[in-house]
Amino acid sequence: MDKPLLKVNNIDVFHETFQALWDVSLVVNADEIVCLGGANASGKSSLLQAVSGFLRPARGNIEFDGQEISRLTPPQIVSLGLSQVPEGRQVFPDMTVLENLIMGSYNRRARTKRKEMLKVVYELFPILEEREKQVAKTLSGGEQQMLAIGRGLMASPKLLLLDEMSLGLAPIVVNEIYKVLSEIHSRGISILFVEENLKRSFQHAKRAYILKTGRVVLKGNIAELQEEEELKRAYFGIAQS
C-alpha cells in the first residue's frame, strides 16, 4: 500500500531573494490523506506552489507518479493528474458554475471523463447542481470554496492539493466541506491539504507534516504527533523549556 505518489526530496525554494523553504522533504503515498500544518507564513503555500509548478525549487527535486516534475509548467503538471485547489477560492468570477467546472476538465486527459466527473462533483456538492447557471462571483464564500474543489476534481486527479480552506468561512461550512473530503478520498483520490487548525487536521488526516519558518519540524502519524509537546511550540512559537 505504501507506494509513493508524490515525493518531495530536499527542496529549497526562494521568493526572489527570500528563502521560503529549507531542505523540505515530504511523501504522499497512493490512497493517502495527509495534512500540511504550521503557523502563518511557515512555508505551506510555498510548498504547494513548488509542487504545482508555480515556484521552481533551487535545490532538490519533486517526483509525481514516478516522474520528475520540478521542471514542468503548471499546465503540464495538471495533465499528469495533480490538481490544485487554491486558497481564497480563486474561481473564474464572471463564468457560471457549470462553465467553471467545465474549465476544470480542460486538459486532454480529463476531457474524455468530463461527464463522469461532473456527475461525481454534483453528487458530492448537490448545491452546485442547483446553482449550475449562476455566475460564480454571486455565490457565497462556502459555495465558492465548493466550486473551487469541484473544479479541481474535474481534472480527474490522482492527487488533490488543497490550500487553506477555512479562511473567512464559518466553522459549520468548513466542517461540511471536510466531510466531503473523506468522500473524495474514498473514491481513490489521494489528498494533501493545508490546515492551520490542529483539531481539524487530526480529525481528517492519517499523517501530518508540520512546517515552521520553512523547515519540516515535525512529521508522522497523527496519533503520535498528538502527544508531542513540541507541536505547540511549532504552532504558537511558545518557548516551553
Binding site: 504545482s52 508555480f54 509548467t73 503548471p74 499546465p75 495538471v78 495533465s79 490538481s83 490544485q84 487554491p86 480563486q90 474561481v91 473564474f92 468570477p93 464572471d94 463564468m95 462553465e99 467545465i102 474549465m103 476544470g104 480542460y106 486538459n107 480529463a110 476531457r111 473544479r151 479541481g152 474535474m154 481534472a155
Partner: protein, 286 residues
C-alpha cells in the same frame, strides 16, 4: 429639418459599428493580457495599405483581398506574440508595451517607404454607391461597415462562449493563475489571442480604408479612437464596446452637423470625458 437630422443619425450609428470593430482588437488584447497594444492602429492601417496594393497591382477587390490579408495578419500576430511579447512579459509589464511602440514605428516607416506619405483610399465598384431609405441616401460602404462589424463581433462572442479554446481565453482574462491551475497553457492562449486581435485589425483596416482616406500616420488617430471607445465602453464588455462605438459615431456625425466638421473630435472627446466623470469604469462594466 427631421429628414436633415436623419442622415447624420443613421450615418452615426452605422459608423459606430466600424468604430467598435476598430476598438475590438485592442479590447481583446487588453482584456486577456492587460497589455495596451500601442501598434493596434498601425496594424489596421497596414491592412488598408495591403488591400490598396493588391487592388492597384492585381485588381483585387478590397473585401476579397481579406481572404489573403486575414491569414497573413493572423500569422504575423502569432509570431509577434510568440517571439517578442511573450518573452518580454517575463521581464516586466513595461517591456511588452515598449515593444508595441517599436512595432508601431516600424510599420509606420515601412508604409512610408513603400507607399510614400501620401493619403490613399480604397476604391471599388461599390465604393460610391448609395442606398436609399425614404428621403435619405446612405453610402453603401457605411452599411457594409456596420454589417462586417456586427458579424465580426457576434462571431467572436460565440467563439469565446462556445469553444474550449474560446472559453480558455475568457478564463485566462478573468483569472490567470486559476487558468494555469486548471491546465490552461496561458502563453499559448496569449499567442492565439494576439493573432485573433491582429486578424480583427485586418478586417477593420479594409473597411476603414473603404470608408475614409488613410496615410501611414493615420494609425495614431485610430489608436486614440480605439482607446476612447474601449475605456468608455468598459474594459472587457463586448456590448459596452459596441454601444460606445455607436456613441462615438453619433457624436461625430451630429457634432459635425451642428458645429461643423472641425469640431467633430472635440465633441467626441468631451462626451467621453462627461461619461467617464459619471461612470468612471465605463458604460457597461461587468
Amino acid at each position: 429639418m427631421i429628414s436633415d437630422l436623419a442622415l447624420p443619425l443613421v450615418m452615426g450609428i452605422l459608423l459606430g459599428g466600424l468604430y467598435a470593430m476598430i476598438a475590438l482588437g485592442l479590447s481583446l488584447v487588453f482584456g486577456v493580457m492587460k497589455l495596451m497594444n500601442l501598434a493596434h492602429g498601425d496594424f489596421i492601417i497596414l491592412s488598408s495599405f495591403l488591400a490598396f496594393a493588391m487592388s492597384s497591382s492585381f485588381g483585387f477587390d478590397p473585401i476579397l483581398s481579406l481572404l489573403i490579408i486575414i491569414p497573413l495578419f493572423f500569422g504575423m500576430g502569432m509570431l509577434i506574440q510568440r517571439y517578442l511579447l511573450n518573452r518580454a512579459f517575463r521581464i516586466s509589464m513595461e517591456a511588452p508595451l515598449i515593444i508595441t511602440i517599436g512595432i508601431s514605428l516600424i510599420i509606420q516607416n515601412l508604409c512610408q517607404i513603400i507607399w510614400s506619405p501620401a493619403s490613399r483610399a480604397l476604391s471599388s465598384f461599390y465604393a460610391l454607391k448609395t442606398f436609399e431609405i425614404g428621403p435619405i441616401n446612405i453610402p453603401l460602404v457605411y452599411l457594409l461597415d456596420f454589417f462586417a462589424a456586427l458579424v465580426t463581433m457576434l462571431a467572436l462572442r460565440e467563439f469565446l462562449k462556445r469553444t474550449y479554446l474560446g472559453r480558455a481565453i475568457t478564463a485566462s482574462s478573468q483569472h490567470e493563475k486559476a487558468a494555469l491551475m486548471v491546465g490552461i497553457d496561458t502563453t499559448r492562449i496569449y499567442v492565439f489571442t494576439f493573432a485573433l486581435a491582429t486578424g480583427i485589425a485586418a478586417i477593420s483596416g479594409v473597411f476603414f480604408g473603404l470608408t475614409f482616406s488613410f496615410s501611414p500616420s493615420s494609425g495614431v488617430n485610430l489608436l486614440i479612437l480605439a482607446f476612447g471607445v474601449v475605456i468608455m465602453g468598459g474594459l472587457g464588455s463586448m456590448l459596452g464596446t459596441f454601444l460606445s462605438g455607436v456613441v462615438f459615431g453619433l457624436s461625430q456625425t451630429l457634432g459635425g452637423y451642428f458645429l461643423g466638421t472641425t469640431a467633430q473630435w472635440l465633441v467626441t472627446f468631451v462626451i467621453v470625458l462627461i461619461i467617464l466623470a459619471i461612470r468612471p469604469r465605463g458604460i457597461f462594466t461587468r
